[in-house]
């Protein structure tokens, strides 16, 4: 198959072989063409050329209906949910809803069908009557997976395609997904799996195809390859999959301090953050990590206790926060961070517009967008390209570029490397280290525990909105950290 956007090839004559009962990994750097390939097989994007063969005979594939009829099911990288509608309806979206007397929708049945699909995943805690938009990020993904699993219709699915499903899932949630993948595999379905997390690829996949700049690079069985080989194939160079070490000691100035702070949804916050320190915030899904970051953005109210930022009170609003050199990467790039129809340039400089004075200065904006875009290894066709056209990882880099512009004093990172490829991840970590060396304090939360352990000096563990532990990084392993998500007595 091939596909070019405006003359620029995103996918050049790539071939992919998928066999039943096997999990096939598709890897490549950001913008390599993985999501484009998937959209071609899903029939949602018009290919320049494509030929599909199934069981030896050619298969017509002109639109999304054809793909569905052929038994292909998709979970795309960008979640398309209908936020106002209930979880149950989202799960059964596009299917005929169960009817009573042939016309009235049988809501009880809708509910049970949706619940069954979620139960198959093991996600029994999700309330299917809630509006989908109110679900936490991880549960939204669970809902999408459940939606792809529901197949009440005549044709049995033969292929599942998952585009970065674990990017927003906690370890525990990922395990549920892997478990389902095992079961689907046993049933003889083929699975195409995209992820930037190499460790999980090595664990759950059987075969791997690597793309680079829209071209096929290599294909192999997982057992015959290694992490080093894969990275080599993806990037064309050797790469160490590691975290850069701290080189400059933590400063002495206090950037922020919280003493016995309670807010409307957080309790018992007690910590002091020094210049250059990197503090991790960790815990089970939705334990209050995001709210803690938002507190520093002026999106929470201190009810009791003493809280200060740079010896004054906490920022009162996001605009106050940015003005006082707090930079923020929200969790959901598309909903909370980007204006998808607007240019790369406009999106990068957005929080810093007041630095340009009253009149817009396009040439300066351009210069800054190029500078900071370059720092995060952004791949785009220019600073006027709409960010909606960028690959998922490159959209995330825009949000990061925005945060490092203007030398922040406090950097709030909520899942900062979500969907970013290994090479670019390393560059982002280097940037974080550089900022920290210059005295910027960082608060980082991530579902990727090795990332938290690799970057942070201390880790604050939250349990149901309460600060439960404040741990020194020391020699802690992921397993040690994980055990603190559950136990209550502070061992440290």
């Amino acid at each position: 198959m091939s596909k070019a956007f405006g003359g620029f090839p995103a996918l050049a004559d790539v071939t992919l072989n998928l066999s039943s009962g096997r999990v096939h990994a598709l890897m490549g750097e950001n913008g390599a063409g993985k999501s484009t390939l998937i959209k071609l097989i899903a029939g949602v994007l018009k290919p320049d050329s494509i030929s599909v063969t199934k069981d030896g005979s050619p298969l017509p594939l002109n639109d999304a209906q054809d793909a569905h009829k052929a038994g292909f099911r998709f979970i795309h990288q960008e979640l398309n949910i209908v936020p106002q509608v209930s979880v149950a309806e989202n799960i059964l979206l596009g299917r005929d809803l169960p009817r009573r007397f042939g016309f009235a929708v049988d809501w009880n049945k809708v509910k049970t069908q949706a619940e069954e699909a979620l139960a198959f995943l093991g996600a029994t805690h999700v309330d299917v009557t809630l509006p989908a938009g109110d679900l936490p990020a991880g549960d939204k993904m669970m809902m999408k997976i459940a939606a792809a699993l529901v197949s009440a219709d005549q044709n049995e699915p033969v292929l599942y395609v998952l585009d970065e499903p674990t990017a927003a899932l906690t370890g525990e949630e990922s395990e549920m997904l892997f478990d389902v993948i095992e079961r689907l595999k046993a049933k003889g379905t083929a699975i195409l799996y995209v992820s930037h997390r190499i460790d999980e690829i090595l664990r759950i996949c059987d075969d791997i195809t690597v793309l680079r700049d829209g071209e096929f690079v290599s294909k192999n069985e997982i057992s015959k390859t290694s992490k080093v080989d894969i990275i080599q194939a993806m990037t064309g160079r050797d790469f160490k999959d590691a975290y850069p070490k701290r080189e400059v000691p933590i400063g002495i100035d206090t950037i922020a301090s919280l003493e016995n702070v309670d807010t409307s949804n957080l309790q018992n916050l007690n910590f002091e953050l020094r210049a250059g320190e990197i503090l991790g915030v960790s815990g089970l899904a939705e334990a209050g990590q995001t709210q803690l970051l938002k507190l520093f953005m002026g999106l929470g109210k201190v009810k009791s206790g003493a809280a200060s930022f740079l010896d004054e009170e906490l920022p009162r609003s996001p605009s106050d926060a940015w003005a006082r050199s707090v930079a923020y990467i929200p969790r959901e790039r598309r909903g909370e961070a980007l204006c998808l129809d607007m240019s790369v340039r406009a999106n990068i400089v957005l929080p810093h517009l007041s630095d340009y004075g009253f009149y817009a200065k396009p040439w300066l904006e351009n210069k800054d967008a190029l500078e900071f875009g370059g720092k995060v290894q952004l791949k785009s066709s220019g600073s006027t390209q709409p960010v909606g056209q960028l690959s998922g990882g490159n959209q995330q880099k825009i949000v990061f570029a925005r945060a490092i512009q203007g030398n922040p004093k406090l950097l709030l990172l909520d899942e900062p490397t979500r969907g970013v490829d290994i090479g670019a991840k390393y560059d982002i970590y280097l940037l974080v280290r550089e900022l920290s060396a210059n005295g910027c304090a960082v608060i980082l939360t991530s579902t990727d525990l090795p990332e938290v352990l690799g970057m942070c000096d201390r880790v604050l563990v939250m349990q149901e909105g309460r600060q439960a532990h404040l741990l020194e990084r020391g020699e802690m392993t992921s397993a040690d950290l994980l055990s603190h998500f559950f136990n209550n007595n502070d061992a440290a």
């Binding site: 996001p318 129809d341 957005l350 004075g357 009253f358 009149y359």
Partner: protein
Amino acid sequence: MMQKLRQSGTLLGFVLILLFFALKLPDTFLTARNLINISQQLSMLAVVATTMTIVMVMNDFDLSVGSMASLSGIVAAMIFTAGYPVWVGLSAALLVGVLGGLFNGFLVSVVGILPFVATLGTLTVFSGMAFLLSDGKTVFGRDIPASFSGFARAGIEIGDIKIPMLTITAGLVIFICWCILEHTNFGRRLYAIGGNKEASHLAGIKVVRLRLYAFSLTGLGAAGAGLMYAARVASANPTQGSGLMLDAIAAVFLGMTMSRRGEPKVIYTLVGVLILGVLDNGMTQLRVDSYVREILVGLIVLAAVAVASLSKLRQA
């Protein structure tokens, strides 16, 4: 390719309309006199439509501009009647525009009512106030000072052409709106709010405050257009602005079919205004029945918007 076609389609239609009238009305249509006449007829709509663009950039709406224009004319006329000097009447009318706009903005961004609903409400409120103040009557004759209505008849002579003051005023307003939206960071922020409100808020943009400002500018524009109208007809009545709202929104929509990503832009709004104005002028000269005219204008707007959204679908 598709994109180019979509963008230039409306412009092409405009050129065809011009050609059509030029051929049908060889002696009267493309004359300096008629073009100047069109520009004067259009000046009120141009002011309302370009200031309307300011809120539409944020994906908001203002349905109350027409009744605000009526109200401002009435306010000025009542103050003239009471014997105050012209500048007092003008300032009061413009102030009413700003306050009315602020009230719209308050309902939309502080209270959080959908713009469609909020401004539909204020549409009737403003209209009711205009009736109440004027007692439902038209104010005209000696109550309207000559220095006020004279403005609409004045102009700047260049050679043997006289450019009307109303046209010049509209030109100034268009220029200011263009500067605001395209060349200030205030305008940049409004576009960002239109792109994604939540993201703009989290990126430190004062969304609530900016929406208030934007609505008050639209109110100010509507009030200004109301004064221009009152000066032109040397009278004020509580319904004279009511046609402006639909035309203004239609002009912005026509303009949106021409911009790259379908966002409203002042320059394109101006083209939309010209299309509507030229159609109106040409068909009047051809003695097309005014009801038929309305049907045609409606169909043309629908066609342009339909073509634009269809080609957008195809492109995706």
